[in-house]
């Protein structure tokens, strides 16, 4: 069972980087290793995550541990929300 959050990010990736192709994005797949997202694509992914989940991602947080798979993004967003620092936007 995959979460809504992951589904939302997956859909964004399918629409924007895979253009709705039939390829799959498993929850634990590294976007970098699988060449799903390239260096400029990550910048787009970061903006999407910030806007969709109302969080702000600092430069320090732009690391693979937080952003390089659906699982990592979910864990990171949950942690940010738990810390209760709203984006103020």
């Amino acid at each position: 069972m995959t979460s809504d959050l992951k589904q939302q990010v997956r859909q964004f990736i399918l629409d924007n980087f895979m253009m709705g192709s039939k390829a799959e994005v498993p929850d634990d797949a590294s976007f970098m290793d699988r060449h799903i997202i390239d260096s400029t694509g990550f910048l787009e992914l970061i903006s999407f995550v910030e806007q969709s989940f109302d969080i702000q991602i600092s430069d320090d947080e732009m690391v693979p541990e937080n952003l390089d798979s659906l699982n990592n993004i979910e864990r990171f967003v949950q942690k940010k929300r738990a810390a209760g620092i709203p984006a103020g936007r």
């Binding site: 970098m32 290793d33 390239d38 600092s58 690391v63």
Partner: protein
């Protein structure tokens, strides 16, 4: 040193325990790389790879690529680095065009190479890093198993410096990638000339986040191994913060980059927290740095010397600007490197005096042997030089010189686009667009882009009744082109401007 693999062999004898390579969290000494390369070379020979055969190396930056390169050379064969972003059909083209006899690759890229191998008759052996044990049969065998076998000694190859060391494919205006043939002499000369002005030493730690399939990345390994430096090899530049963390923890002293990388770094707000005090040299090539970028880089890293350079795969490097000249002529790419002569010619091939504008010509031992099995295209680039039998390289780039002979880039003679420091052939992208059912006309141009230098924009005219969306067009491209070639912008238009003879006119498209 005569042969390219002497770089590794001599350094491994001199400083066997020195760390040669740091990559994906592992550290490898020169002795380890040397021993692994010798074992893989034996495996290549055992699988029928003979002197002069082409061995394609298709993998993300990692130890396999480095070991694969030197193993190929030790076996007397020719390495062919292939960008890991390459898709199946293009990989098949490269394998077939070069008639490669072996492919060294990784399990992670399996979907792509399996597709390519299905259409390749020349490849008789495919050595795969991470191959599951049950799959080792037929053409497939395990890279790790090859390294584990120490049963025999490797016989020395009979290579001489006139033999090919590498074939590196590059985009051409015809849309068909061309294999640049480089001999051992070409590559040894180029590495020595480049290091003649950079002055990298065994004390240096080089950060390489450039793909090794790109000669700028490849030469970081070659020059590092020539002098016995440590190369920190990164997979990609997707996470600049991660790279800066590594740069700080490894005490990086040399950082080669392209403008897109520098612009990503400079946009970070937390640069000050990384201790980059050991960084002593930054190099830039592939695309020109703007004056603003030059100023900002020097402010951010006052401890580092900045080298602006220019080159092309056909001869590796051409020019560099001596750092003190940055203040005098910041937009110049400098003058010819050591053991190389460069000049400008007019359209009749006549040499021009300083202060002129013309095509740049290059003479030196670093100039390629030609394009693999493409005599006509070779003849357009290699033309007779001053002495009998000598060939010089016509770069296809227009430069101007100032009164003192310093060079300034003006334009390319062809329509190649430079995006993210990579060469993109509009024709190659257009060919892919035309392969999409319903596309009647296509025109691809470069448009200015703050981060990429130039971004790729495709204009597409659809046949009547065809309902492709812009996303459909992009999806089609993504399945067939390396990501840096995929258009950033697609415009579906009613018609394209044409010349009197019915050809698409690109001037005015932007």
């Amino acid at each position: 040193m005569r042969l390219l693999h002497d770089f590794l062999e001599r350094t491994a004898r001199r400083v066997p325990d020195k760390i040669a390579l740091v990559t994906t969290g592992q550290r490898f000494t020169y002795a380890q790389i040397e021993s692994d390369a010798a074992r893989l070379a034996r495996a290549l020979r055992a699988r029928g790879v003979a002197r002069g055969d082409r061995v394609a190396i298709f993998a993300d930056n990692g130890v396999e690529v480095v070991v694969g390169i030197f193993a190929t050379l030790k076996a007397g064969a020719v390495f062919m680095p292939v960008n890991s972003l390459t898709k199946g059909d293009k990989l098949a083209y490269l394998l077939n065009d070069s008639r490669a006899s072996c492919l060294v690759t990784t399990q992670a890229l399996r979907e792509i190479w399996e597709h390519a191998l299905a259409g390749s008759e020349s490849v008789s052996a495919c050595i795969v890093s991470g191959l599951p044990a049950r799959d080792g049969n037929g053409r497939l065998s395990s890279y790790e198993a090859a390294l584990a076998d120490d049963s025999q000694e490797l016989e020395t190859s009979s290579t001489i410096d006139q033999d090919l060391a590498s074939i590196i494919y590059t985009s051409g205006s015809t849309g068909e990638p061309k294999g640049v043939m480089l001999t051992h002499l070409n590559m040894v000369s180029a590495a020595q000339s480049v290091n003649g002005y950079l002055g990298i030493t065994g004390e240096d730690v080089i950060l390489c986040a450039l793909p090794l399939a790109f000669d700028y990345g490849l030469y970081q390994i070659l020059m590092g191994f020539l002098v016995g430096a440590t190369v920190v090899l990164e997979r990609s530049f997707s996470f600049p913060v991660k790279i800066l963390q590594t740069a700080a923890s490894e005490g990086v002293t040399v950082f080669p980059g392209v403008p897109t990388m520098f612009s990503m770094i400079m946009s970070l707000g937390n640069l000050a927290q990384f201790d980059l005090s050991r960084l002593r040299m930054i190099t830039n090539t592939a695309a020109a740095l703007s004056e603003r970028h030059i100023r900002e880089l020097r402010e951010l890293f006052p401890q580092a010397t900045l080298f602006s350079m220019y080159g092309l795969t056909e001869c590796k490097r051409v020019t560099y600007l001596p750092p003190p000249e940055l203040d005098v002529r910041p937009t110049s790419v400098g003058r010819g490197m050591p053991n190389e002569e460069v000049w400008l010619v007019d359209e009749h091939g006549k040499r021009l005096p300083n202060g002129s504008t013309g095509e740049l010509v290059i003479r030196g031992s670093n100039v390629m042997r030609g394009y693999w099995e493409k005599p006509e295209q070779t003849a357009r680039r290699l033309k007779p030089g001053p002495y009998p039998g000598e060939m010089v390289l016509y770069s296809g780039d227009i430069f101007r010189t100032d009164e003192e002979g310093y060079l300034y880039f003006v334009a390319r003679k062809d329509d190649i686009i430079k995006s993210r420091g990579e060469k993109v052939s509009p024709k190659e992208v257009e060919n892919v667009l035309y392969a999409l059912d319903g596309v009647q006309d296509a025109a691809v141009v470069g448009v200015p882009d703050e981060v990429l230098g130039q971004a790729i924009k495709a204009y597409v005219v659809l046949r009547s009744g065809c309902r492709h969306s812009e996303k459909d067009v992009l999806r089609h491209c993504q399945g067939r082109l390396e990501s840096f070639m995929v258009p950033k912008h697609v415009a579906i238009v009613g018609e394209l401007p044409k010349t009197d003879t019915g050809k698409i006119k690109k001037t005015g498209l932007s």
